[in-house]
Symmetry: C2
Subunit: 380 residues, 2 copies
């Protein structure tokens, strides 16, 4: 039941506009796509005949005839997406609009190596498909997030830390053996950024900070994920000022990650005798108003904010969205905001929004869906 989307030419643009929720009538499609209204009608007709779009009642009038509302056909297909962490994987199925049909979390040791891990994910996909998708609904794409750098040219993992056996492994190639479909392999922070971007349709330039066990960042430029040469978005290895020096895993001292990541906070808390095992524990402590934890999170936010200052001046985004498990601790965003406001050029911060991420914990999965939809519609 796997097959590529049978769209060609302008159909792809139209289907994308409906799938992403930007248009839900022929008139809106015409406005947004730039095509003539007559052409839109013809293409929509074809998409309905192909079983990809469906008409559903009518929308609200804007002062004239009511539009006939278009939506994705429920049988148009599903996407299988995963987000791989060190000790677990979140995975699920989405419809083409990116709406989740089912999402679940499973245990999974990334240290078991790529073959075992990827096969386990694919088996999980098969289970979910059998259980949650009506027979006949085709799978249209498969994607996964990786907690490490991915070379966009080869879709291989490069120089990952904490992923033994994965270096240079052709992740996409391995999956392509099992699925003759568009395959997406992408860094997890980038996926999160792509997911967050869906929530800011009117903004073009976003920085999405992932503050969790580590610190990552994804960049949306002109509405599209910026990959650079594959390493773009790293903010964790910037040197920060501090009293005590900490050596980072990268070999240099006093990286942001070594001082401000969830892992760093946990090790400080443990030294002062407070038991924590996961980043979420830190958040719990903060919400329980444990002073040591709150103070640490504030300092962490301040440091992240100081680093962001440089990047905000340089990149001048519309929005800085702060996500990741640590962002659930409210002082984090507050102190990031304070630092950026204080140290940035006024010109760079006027109209800048610094806010908690909107997309929630499944941001990466939704981002995978968004990118896969694009891949499926552009034919690769």
């Amino acid at each position: 039941m796997n097959q590529r989307l049978p769209v060609q030419g302008a159909q792809g643009d139209l289907l994308r506009l409906v799938a992403t929720g930007r248009a839900e009538s022929r008139a809106e499609l015409a406005r947004l796509s730039g095509l003539a209204a007559s052409s839109v009608s013809l293409r929509v007709e074809e998409l309905i005949d192909a079983g990809l779009l469906a008409e559903e009642g009518s929308g609200t009038s804007r002062g004239g005839r009511r539009p006939r509302r278009l939506r994705l056909s429920s049988g148009a297909g599903v996407l299988a997406v995963a987000d791989l962490g060190s000790h677990h994987v979140r995975l699920g199925l989405l419809d083409l609009s990116g709406a989740p049909l089912v999402i679940e979390e499973r245990g999974c040791e990334i240290a078991d190596g790529p073959q075992a891990t990827l096969d386990a994910i694919a088996d999980a996909f098969d289970e979910l498909l059998a259980e949650h998708v009506p027979p006949g609904t085709p799978l249209r794409g498969v994607g996964t997030g990786i907690p490490g750098p991915v070379d966009p040219a080869t879709l291989r993992v490069v120089n990952p830390s904490r992923m033994p056996g994965w270096n240079d492994f052709p992740v996409a190639g391995h999956l392509a053996n099992r699925y003759d479909l568009p395959i997406l392999v992408e860094n997890d922070a980038n996926l999160m950024a792509a997911g967050e971007a869906r929530w800011w349709p009117e903004r073009e330039n976003l920085m999405v900070v992932k503050a969790g066990t580590g610190i990552g960042c994804g960049l949306i430029v002109n509405g599209h994920l910026h990959r650079g040469r594959g390493a773009a978005g790293d903010i964790s290895h910037v040197r920060v000022l501090s009293d005590s020096s900490i050596l980072c895993a990268c070999g240099l001292p006093d990286c942001l990650e070594a001082h401000a990541s969830g892992a760093a906070l946990m090790s400080v808390l443990r030294e002062s005798g407070i038991e924590v095992t996961r980043t979420a524990d830190v958040v719990t402590l903060v919400n329980d108003a444990v002073p040591e934890a709150t103070s640490l999170v504030r300092t962490s936010g301040r440091r992240i904010g100081e680093v962001l200052t440089v990047l905000v001046n340089f990149f001048n985004p519309d929005v800085v969205a702060v996500g990741g498990s640590l962002s659930a601790a409210e002082p984090l965003v507050t102190s990031i905001r304070a630092a950026v406001w204080e140290l940035c050029l006024p010109l760079a911060t006027r109209d800048l929004e610094i806010v908690p991420a909107r997309a929630g914990r499944d941001a990466a999965l939704l981002g995978a869906g968004a990118l896969l939809l694009d891949a499926a519609l552009t034919g690769r």
Copy 2:
């Protein structure tokens, strides 16, 4: 003799490809534009009839029939471009391909205010047009670089330092009163980046550092100038580490610009009794192997490099090009390179080129030409 380019639809893309030197035969146009070869032939025919393109002999064979070489018609039009500095303005005329017909430098006090300055520039354009352009060759666009921030939405100058009377002045509006043509108003570092980008046709993501009296930076993302909300590219107000503290004009201490700009180097040199009046004097001292000057430039490069480290990790460009008058001092690029190489992630620096800018001292004018051509071809 001013008139907008009479191009429509696909003609614009084709003309741009020829003007920017990326294509010079119908076959190349077909490959690069994605249009069918037959459509290309038809549009080229029209462009020739309109007097915009001309056929000129034949190119070299690639194993088959030789292509009929296309070039811009010499009567296709000219662009008038200026780059405004504090005490002078460089201005000139370019053909549509961006090749200079005439470029000259004039004295001009930016402190005289926008009206006087812009009128003087326009008068200079008129002189140059009368003198260097055959009658009947139309002017197709007017553009100027500004040594301060420009709001891309309104094309006004915002919060400029050292430009009394310019704040919020509608530069484009004023010029539009005199020319009913595409008008370009852009920050000078951005123009420089756009000019440099022409020299890197095969690279998508560039950082172009302008190291002169001040320090600026322009950003090319996916081949296009990134403006952000209008302030993108600022790197001069990043805090750097140093023994002695210097207060920057922005109100905060130890900005990069306060320590590493040409102006900063000059003031240090003057304190040690060495007479310098312009950034070029510093370069001369370095080339004469005056140890104090060389050492200062090295330190400056080191500091710029340390700042770039953060940005290279984050933005992961293909190329960092270093221009501006100070870049003529060879140790500058060398020490920038050394710092970035030492402190960046290996993944971000693999295949990264850090090199002196290719476009030379007229980079900003050429950049203005490039952007104006786009503006003229897209109809605004």
